[in-house]
């Protein structure tokens, strides 16, 4: 489950229309969410507040043997209008599960950001500042996030800790995302590590999207319309007469990363490919990835499938062709719904009977614009339909992790246990409960 501050950052990305999924680092996001989730340790309490649309605070108290905690503050120049109350938060946003990728969107034009007032530009870049102090370790984390342009974002993360070499470390990350491809350049002050990451999406270029549109569509959407709601763009693009013939069903992406530490003269490299289905795909959604580290001989493949509206399964197989070591991990997530979903339109049952769900969607889309997005994300308009999410994973060494996340009244909770079934001295590795309250 995302912490409150991570959720606020997610809200910032959403408000500033930055696509978090379109980079090489999140190529494996689905598998990581299903297989590498962290189980809490001990008891941890979070009390947070988005006191104003621009300012958020969070206090964290934990006890694993001894009591520790952290204070964090966040400032965003972009007003975050969504509610961050733990009662209203959509669980689909805070609980990371199967990542169903959406259609790529055309980046905004730079001139759309310009705001002129009496012959002078008065617009500012969206900025997020975040600081967190851990006690009693006296570790300080700081984050500076700035949208340089519609296609660029700068992220500076710093950690100050007396136990680290040189007392701390800074990571600078410049991201450039044009939809069709994404480039990231990073520099870490620790051993002067330089890195470059890139991801390329095969298929139609979202920047040339207007040309694909049929002639009856307006060539240029109004800026206000494009800026305010992305849903209208996607819905309008999908509401073309025969979208199945035009749009792709899936997306194939390839990427690579390269690191080089100048001071210790060591580096790393990896490449990866991914195929994932898009919402237009009529069958069950699935994602396949294959990553390769040619230097270290590591080959890892994942396959994740969303078998139903509330079930996702994932497997990962790793193999090293230098040391012949292999590993296998299996995981699943199960969404427990509080009540059966109400049919979104009166005609649903007709199409359900006919087995033509897609056409039903088309019809319902025509009847009630805006519900398609919601249906594909499996988040209904009321957030109360999700009671909780059960995640479980197991690997070939019988390490088992179980996590139950959900909401009780106004509290978000996440309880988990991590077991090692082969250990002789008791199977429990970690057990814990985490509670979040925000207003």
């Amino acid at each position: 489950m995302l912490g409150f501050m991570d959720y606020v950052q997610y809200m910032f990305f959403k408000a500033s229309r930055w696509n978090q999924d379109n980079n090489y680092g999140s190529l494996n996001a689905t598998a990581q969410a299903l297989l590498d989730f962290e189980t809490p340790r001990g008891l941890r309490l979070n009390v947070s507040s988005l006191s104003s649309p621009n300012f958020a605070t969070s206090y964290n108290l934990g006890s694993v043997g001894l009591v520790d905690g952290s204070l964090s503050y966040l400032y965003s120049s972009l007003p975050l209008k969504d509610s961050a109350r733990s009662r209203n938060i959509d669980l689909h946003d805070v609980i990371q599960g199967y990542r169903h990728l959406q259609e790529l969107q055309k980046p905004e034009e730079a001139w759309l950001w310009e705001i002129w007032h009496r012959g002078r530009r008065i617009d500012r870049r969206d900025t997020l500042l975040y600081g967190r102090l851990y006690l009693p370790d006296s570790t300080l984390e700081a984050l500076y996030l700035r949208r340089l342009s519609p296609t660029r974002q700068l992220k500076l993360s710093c950690v100050s800790d007396s136990r680290l070499k040189n007392g701390g470390t800074i990571l600078g990350l410049l991201q450039h995302d044009v939809g069709k491809y994404n480039m990231e350049y990073l520099y870490s002050s620790d051993s002067a590590l330089l890195g470059i990451r890139g991801l390329y999406n095969f298929g139609p270029d979202p920047r040339k999207e207007p040309t694909i549109f049929p002639p009856e569509m307006p060539d240029t959407l109004k800026p206000s319309e494009q800026h305010t709601s992305s849903e209208t763009v996607s819905s309008s693009s999908s509401s073309s007469p025969s979208p199945s013939s035009h749009g792709p069903y899936g997306r194939f992406s390839a990427g690579a990363e390269l690191y080089y530490g100048i001071l210790n003269k060591s580096g790393g490299i990896s490449t990866g490919i991914r195929f994932t289905t898009l919402p237009r795909h009529t069958g069950f959604p699935y994602t396949m990835t294959l990553t390769l580290n040619p230097l270290m001989g590591n080959l890892s493949s994942t396959y994740a499938v969303k078998a139903g509206p509330s079930l996702a399964l994932c497997s990962r197989f790793g193999f090293n062709f230098y040391s012949y070591e292999s590993d296998l991990q299996l995981g699943c997530e199960l969404w427990r719904l509080r009540q059966p979903r109400q049919p979104t339109s009166n005609l649903d049952w007709v199409y359900a009977k006919l087995g033509k769900e897609h056409e039903a969607e088309m019809v319902s889309e025509a009847l009630r614009p805006g519900t398609k997005q919601a249906r594909h994300n499996d988040n209904g308009n009321d957030n109360d339909d999700v009671a909780g999410v059960l995640k479980a994973r197991v690997d070939q060494n019988c390490n088992v992790g179980v996590l139950w996340e959900g909401r009780i009244k106004d509290l978000l909770f996440s309880a988990g246990v991590s077991l090692d079934l082969r250990a002789r001295n008791g199977p429990f590795r970690a057990i814990g409960v985490e509670l979040q309250y925000s207003s």
Binding site: G25, N28, S157
Partner: protein, 576 residues
Amino acid sequence: MAFNFNWSPLTADSLFYSRARELLTTALNKSPKPAIIVDDILVNELNLGSVPPDLEILEIGDIAEDRFRGIFKMCYTGDAFLTLKTRVQANPLNTYLSTKPSFASPQPLAAASGLTIPLQITLSEIKLSAIIILVFSRQKGLTLVFRNDPLESLKVSSTFDSIPFVRDYLQKEIEGQLRVLLMDEVPAIIHRLSLRLWVPEFRPRIDEDISRNGSLQSEKPVDPLASPPQDPVDSSGNPLGPTDISNLSLESGTETRPLFSQKNLLRLATLTDSHRTLSLFTPSIRDAVFRAWAGPTEHAETLGLHAAVATVPSLARINSSTGSTATAPASLDGSGIGSPLSRQSSTSHFTGTTGLSMGASRHSRAHGHRKKKHRVVNLRRSKNDSETGSTDSASVASTTSTATGSNGPPTPSASTDREGELVTPPGSPTNVVKLPMLSESNSLAESSTIRLRTSRAEQKAKAALTGVYADDSFVQEKPHEPAPAYTPPERPKLEPLHLHSYPKEKPRFAPSSPSALHHSMTLQETESSAAGILEQAFMVKMATEMARKARDEKSAPADAWHNGQRDDSPPPAYGS
């Protein structure tokens, strides 16, 4: 004074290397390992080489046969080598990221995926230079401490020698680890090994550990009177060879000498202890009938002579009897119990120069063992032994020889000796038998004077003697040593007496420095004058005066030395 450092016998013992390997492996895996090492470190090969280290004695603080404290300077440039096996993380990015906070980590997708590689490291050309503080005592084993960082240089060769970055990293890491190992772990390892070698109490435990780790051998029931004994041990607990066993077995010779195994001695010790305590546990001994022990007084009266000795292992004490009319706690054969017990005690206290003469009939044999093992043997002892042996054969009183031996010339204060003495009853029987013995041993110049003095000082002096010994640091670790059951009738007298008379006699009997050699000699000469002085401070003053006098008249001590050498007996205070 000579020291004999044996380097090669360490390597001759085949078990030594396996034990050392085990201990090193556990020691290496105890401390937190660097991130690059992802598996346990296994000691694959260990060789101490043939070149011994150079040792230079800087200072000797305390020396006796059973304890030693000294400071050495050690230089080692030998051909020892050590091969380790482990698995390392070959991806530098992985190890780099594992030590960094995740908040500022680049979070690579797959570039940090690990590759573990089996690694073999050979450490050779080890150069050590250190100042070592060495403390040895028979009870506490060997303690070795480095005063400075001993590691000067070392060569690390591994599978990654062709990659300079990895080689340098390994060299640096291993040097750091080895420094920690030498400073912290090696003293602990040596201490454990020494405990295993010298303290029999620890041996079963360590053996148990080893057998638990390795092949488990089912323990057979041990027949205590089996001949030859099933697991015979000699005085220091070392296993006996077949020839020794044939010498010592029950059926051989006219005198019955059942050799008890260490295990059975322990059982007997716990058995007798169970009579003395409220313990409900009685060990089962085959072919033995237990009888309740009516009371200590009755027991003491029935015994004409009794030698109360302390068995070294587990600090348990055994009351045994050597007399033919003895009623032992367990109604085994009296001599059967008595002699092995006394043998055990005497041999465990073998280090004293005077030696204990309990179980004197086998004393010569026990010391024969000693002589074979140690190059440096006090010549005095052999003389004493033969003497006490003869007296014992005449008077059949083993305890008397103990008393004479302990009250004899001021000898190096072997702690175990005194333990033995502590429990010897200073009661009347000893005094009675002493007189004929004194007449016999009059031929010895110095010892005779001392014995005469002791006979004069009588009970008081003897109690003071035990008081002196009780003051000894080694004995003080076992304050419960004079238990009432050992010296049942006399014991109440003992404590108040030694409290009073302890300061009187102390300077005479506790020569603690090399100069005390002269002290003691002069003290013997002016013994009568010293006997009357009560205050200790004055006594010390007198002693220094005497020492000065002795220095003035150098001829007298020289003669004493000369005579002593001619008599094949070492100077009285030698080695203190």
